[in-house]
Symmetry: C2
Subunit: 270 residues, 2 copies
């Protein structure tokens, strides 16, 4: 199992890369290729659009690569997602693409294009408290397909997205077919009024109204609302589900933290 790490959004920290490499060496059950593009820096991004796209296309096209592991989120994968999917190289279909957060723009488009996608921890998570367990969980799933790494309540086709990323890909060419899936959402660093506004936007989408159920992961690092919002994130999400006729499926074990679990996207249409 050869795993390639590229950074379509922001720059990977060296100490995260070193930590992940040490875990892989200790395990001895896979090879890790951390593309040098991961350490580029160009303004907000891990290199210019062209550099991030070239690294991504390179590992997509490499038949020796079994899994592409997105280094971290931040922001920027949307800027190269459509270009990444022009004339998809044949070798791109034989591998899985793992990540979360901003990587959701790529994962939406890649799933729509028939590629194999999963939500789960990324190399930069090494730097979180307890991050080593997140890295081990991602590798247990990538290498061994260990079911213990999966979100524990999955019982059918599912997708997972950062709520704000999801809102920003609706109506774009990256929007996948949500019909019949359990849609797991989470978010980080937002005000509750923004969570409410984004839930309005997302649940008003006819495409989203085709989901089987919506499940709520963790909403982390909520920014202070002035005045107090008077509803918590569960009440907000349940209210918008009720208003839009979407079934609420309870909480989900995903989030911007070391406990974040794996959610493979459905493979039915491949």
């Amino acid at each position: 199992m050869r795993i390639a790490v590229v950074a379509p959004s922001c720059t990977l920290r060296r100490e995260a890369a070193d930590g992940v490499a040490a875990i892989v060496a200790r395990r001895g059950d896979c090879e890790l290729f951390i593309h040098p593009q991961c350490f580029l820096s160009d303004g907000h991004f891990a290199g210019a659009d062209e550099a991030r796209l070239a690294a991504l296309r390179e590992v997509m096209a490499d038949p020796a690569v079994d899994a592409v592991w997105f280094a971290r989120g931040g922001y920027g994968s949307n800027r190269i997602a459509e270009a990444a999917l022009v004339d998809v190289p044949q070798a791109a279909a034989g591998k899985v693409y793992l990540g979360y957060s901003d990587a959701g723009f790529l994962q939406a488009g890649f799933h729509k294009a028939g590629l194999s996608v999963a939500w789960g921890p990324m190399p930069q998570d090494m730097l979180r408290g307890g991050g080593e367990a997140a890295i081990e969980r991602a590798l247990d799933w990538l290498v061994l397909r260990d079911p213990a790494a999966l979100e524990p309540a999955l019982d059918g086709p599912a997708m997972a997205f950062n709520l704000t990323v999801l809102s920003n890909l609706l109506g774009t060419p990256l929007e996948p077919d949500f019909t019949g899936v359990d849609l797991l959402i989470e978010d980080v660093g937002e005000h509750l009024y923004r969570i409410d506004r984004t839930m309005f936007h997302v649940t008003a989408s006819p495409a989203i109204q085709n989901v089987r159920r919506l499940r709520l992961g963790r909403i982390a690092d909520i920014l202070p609302n002035d005045p107090d919002f008077a509803m918590d994130e569960s009440a907000i999400v349940e209210q918008w589900c009720a208003r839009s006729g979407i079934a609420f499926g309870g909480r989900a074990d995903i989030g911007h933290d070391a406990r974040n679990r794996i959610v493979p996207f459905p493979a039915e249409n491949r």
Copy 2:
């Protein structure tokens, strides 16, 4: 000319209301009715959804009211916009609806429903530095249709929206027809990476790609980007226009400030 003020989003400050009332008294060319709902408070909002909706529906249905002036933005008008448009009272069509920012959710839906809408200063702007001029400008337009109050480069059908509000109404039942209009956008209190992400979302919309041109108002109070974003708001907007094939029409004289001008929405379809 009788002008009714209601607050579909957040609570109006008493001192803003008093200041506007004093200006109206001094002018003597119009009557002002500040609905008591403007001063309600329920968590984030100027009263519960039901109270805000009832006040809005009341002034919409009142044939003695010539203009409905949204008290201020903040957040919350999206929560009542669809309900406000159920069985539109006949008297609702004979008046204009003025406001901006979060009021854009209502203005989008109201324009789509054939009502007369304009972007422009709101009573709470009284509290800004130079706010008295903003209030006078709004009244000059409401009472006298003074062309000096208009955004100076309007030369055809136009609409104006807060960029983040616009992004959050795309794909919802509130989305109006943008075909052939100059679309003026502005924003406040966002990071540049969010402006970039929202421009991706908005310019990828086939509905938005039908505009004649996109024009950029002021992006105010930009939050620090870490690392520096390396592009300013003009470069961001021009880049997404170029990528999406939307003509960029230059800067526009609108924003979250006392200089904000009036942009009447097109009346062709009424």
